[in-house]
């Protein structure tokens, strides 16, 4: 096997006496693009620029005439686009990647449709019911699509709905309650997806989707706990603490079961941030800042050491 990458080449040149000509030959043969790559690059370059500029020209043309269009024409245009993309994406029994991407396009066009509706009828900026309608009306497509990026877009819109609802309607909810709801929602989603993915092996719920949901859950838990800590330990804090403790314990169990350090890593990091907030709540004098500085360095070093050991141990086992 004679292929090596640029880092390998640099390492080699640093510790040997290879001359300039040899390095040049090595670069040209293994690292720089060959004639085939150049041909492909130029093809993609010209066609992308061509299509990109042409489509931009058409969009600008519509933008110029947008104010003069009748509202039926505006909504009809976007509805037409939604119908066309959806039809193309469900055509045929075997789904190609292009069709799945078209479904994602249809998903965003539904959002555009509701946005235009909001613009025509002046429902207000970022109204939560715009996102709610978007979520509800695309649910069927997403559940049928089996395409991980589409699931991710769907969850983002769902969480945005909850967030904006809390901001615009339920203004009496405390902040940490919103994060608690989002945390519980993410955990339930994660559990459902994980169970579904382990039951059906022939699915496309990729690992990265599960890991992203877990990351979202951890972020909500961290934010919520930090806010709850600074709110002086109301009753909600103890519920939150209990739930977070349970979920984190399950997270450690999952990490050990799957032999994957990812879940452990994000939980540890979240715990470090929460403990830092706890320390700051106790006292925010200068001594505490110095102590926090030392605590963070110590804890992160310990955590990274443990994670690297675990990774070595698990990769040798497998």
């Amino acid at each position: 096997m004679k292929t090596f990458n640029r880092d390998d080449l640099h390492t080699f040149v640093k510790h040997s006496n290879i001359n300039e000509q040899a390095v040049k030959t090595a670069l040209e043969q293994h690292i720089y693009p060959q004639k085939k790559d150049w041909q492909k690059f130029l093809q993609i370059f010209f066609i992308t620029l061509g299509i990109g500029f042409t489509v931009a020209g058409i969009i600008f043309f519509f933008a110029y005439n947008w104010n003069h269009l009748h509202k039926f024409v505006k909504i009809g245009l976007i509805l037409g686009l939604v119908i066309v993309t959806t039809l193309f994406s469900i055509y045929g029994t075997k789904k190609t990647v292009l069709q799945q991407l078209l479904m994602v396009g249809a998903f965003f066009l539904v959002g555009v449709l509701f946005a235009v509706f909001g613009q025509i009828y002046q429902t207000g900026a970022n109204a939560y019911d715009f996102f709610l309608a978007w979520t509800v009306f695309t649910t069927l497509w997403v559940f049928n699509s089996n395409f991980s990026p589409l699931w991710l877009c769907y969850f983002s819109v769902m969480h945005t709905t909850v967030f904006l609802y809390a901001q615009q309607v339920a203004t009496n909810w405390p902040n940490e309650f919103v994060y608690l709801i989002l945390f519980v929602l993410s955990v339930i989603t994660f559990v459902l997806m994980y169970v579904y993915a382990s039951k059906n092996t022939n699915n496309s719920i990729h690992n990265w989707l599960l890991q992203t949901i877990a990351l979202a859950a951890t972020v909500y838990a961290t934010f919520g706990m930090v806010i709850a800590i600074f709110q002086k330990y109301e009753f909600l804090f103890f519920i939150f603490l209990f739930l977070v403790a349970m979920v984190y314990y399950l997270g450690f169990w999952l990490s050990n079961k799957l032999k994957n350090i990812y879940y452990q890593a994000i939980i540890f990091f979240s715990l470090i941030v929460i403990i830092t907030a706890f320390l700051l709540e106790i006292s925010d004098g200068e001594g505490m800042f110095l102590f926090i500085f030392l605590f963070i360095i110590f804890s992160i070093t310990m955590v990274i050491r443990r994670l690297v050991e675990l990774q070595k141990q698990w990769s040798h086992e497998s």
Binding site: N17, I58, F61
Partner: protein, 359 residues
Amino acid sequence: MNHKEHIQNVIGYFNSINASPIEVDEERIEQQLENAYQSQSLLIKIMSVLGGFLASLAFVGFLFMIGIYRSEFSLLFFGFLFIVAAIWMIKTYKTILFETMSVSFYMIGFLMVGFGLGEMKLAEVYIPNTYILLSLITFCLVQNYLLNFVALQIINGSILFLIFNYHAVLLLNVYVGFLAILLTAVCIKESFLLTYHSISKNLFKPIVSGLFIAFIISLSYLAKEIAVFKVTIIHYHAISLAFILFPLIYLLLDVFKKMEINKQVVKVSICVATVLLLIPTVIFPAIAGALLIILLGFWSSHNAAFVLGVLSCMYFVAQCYYDLEYTLLTKSIMLFITGILFCSIYFLTVKKLSSNEAV
């Protein structure tokens, strides 16, 4: 992955292309490959970076709490101390956590020095000059990817600050052109720089990445010229465009060799067509600069630079059309014509670009 086998294979390859048999420090190579493989997990790297950043934030909080900002002398003193400590730390400890902390201390040190100098109410020009001096000294003292990268960005930022302070529009264009030529020279002469001297070996990577980013930042300042300088001087743009076109044509000549295009007529006509196509970008030379980055990133196989070039090209084109003072209709016609032009170039060359494969 068997490192020893891999090393032997690569040594065999180099022996075959080198004039004389090479001497290799196998142990250190194996050690370095092991290290790279160990900490390859992106997750651990991200955790270290975030942890180092948080720790430095806590330390800055500590400094603020003890009121260090009340005395210029202590700001300057501790600023210099932090910069020296950062350099010492990165030479002594080789783990990612300490590297990140060292870079954070380095940046905090510079901030404190700048703060201190500002509090002393000297002329504004002292701060960027001090920064440039300190960064250059860093280059002499340490060769580490992160630290030298940051030092290069500080030099670039200071030069840009000086340019804006003195409203030197002409200098901005000359500087952008200079960066274009320097970047292309460094990329093309990779083999020379790697084998020239031990310092240049270690400095190559940070300088290349640093120059790419510095070039993009300077281009974006050139793009925002109208917002900052309140005036757009087209004659000065011609200078930066010329300086960008020279490396572009040079690279094109090299691409001709790679694509085995030998007819003189074809070569000249492609060069002339490129120049003519890029002449209209004199109103917005950042677009030509982004095209240079795309070409350079692909030519030298720097994928990150290539992607950055693509993204910045899209941004600069959008910014250009946003700033143009024509109606949306005129803009749509211009965009449409450009699109049709590129589509026709594609259809003209697609046969040529793929027919060689069949042969």
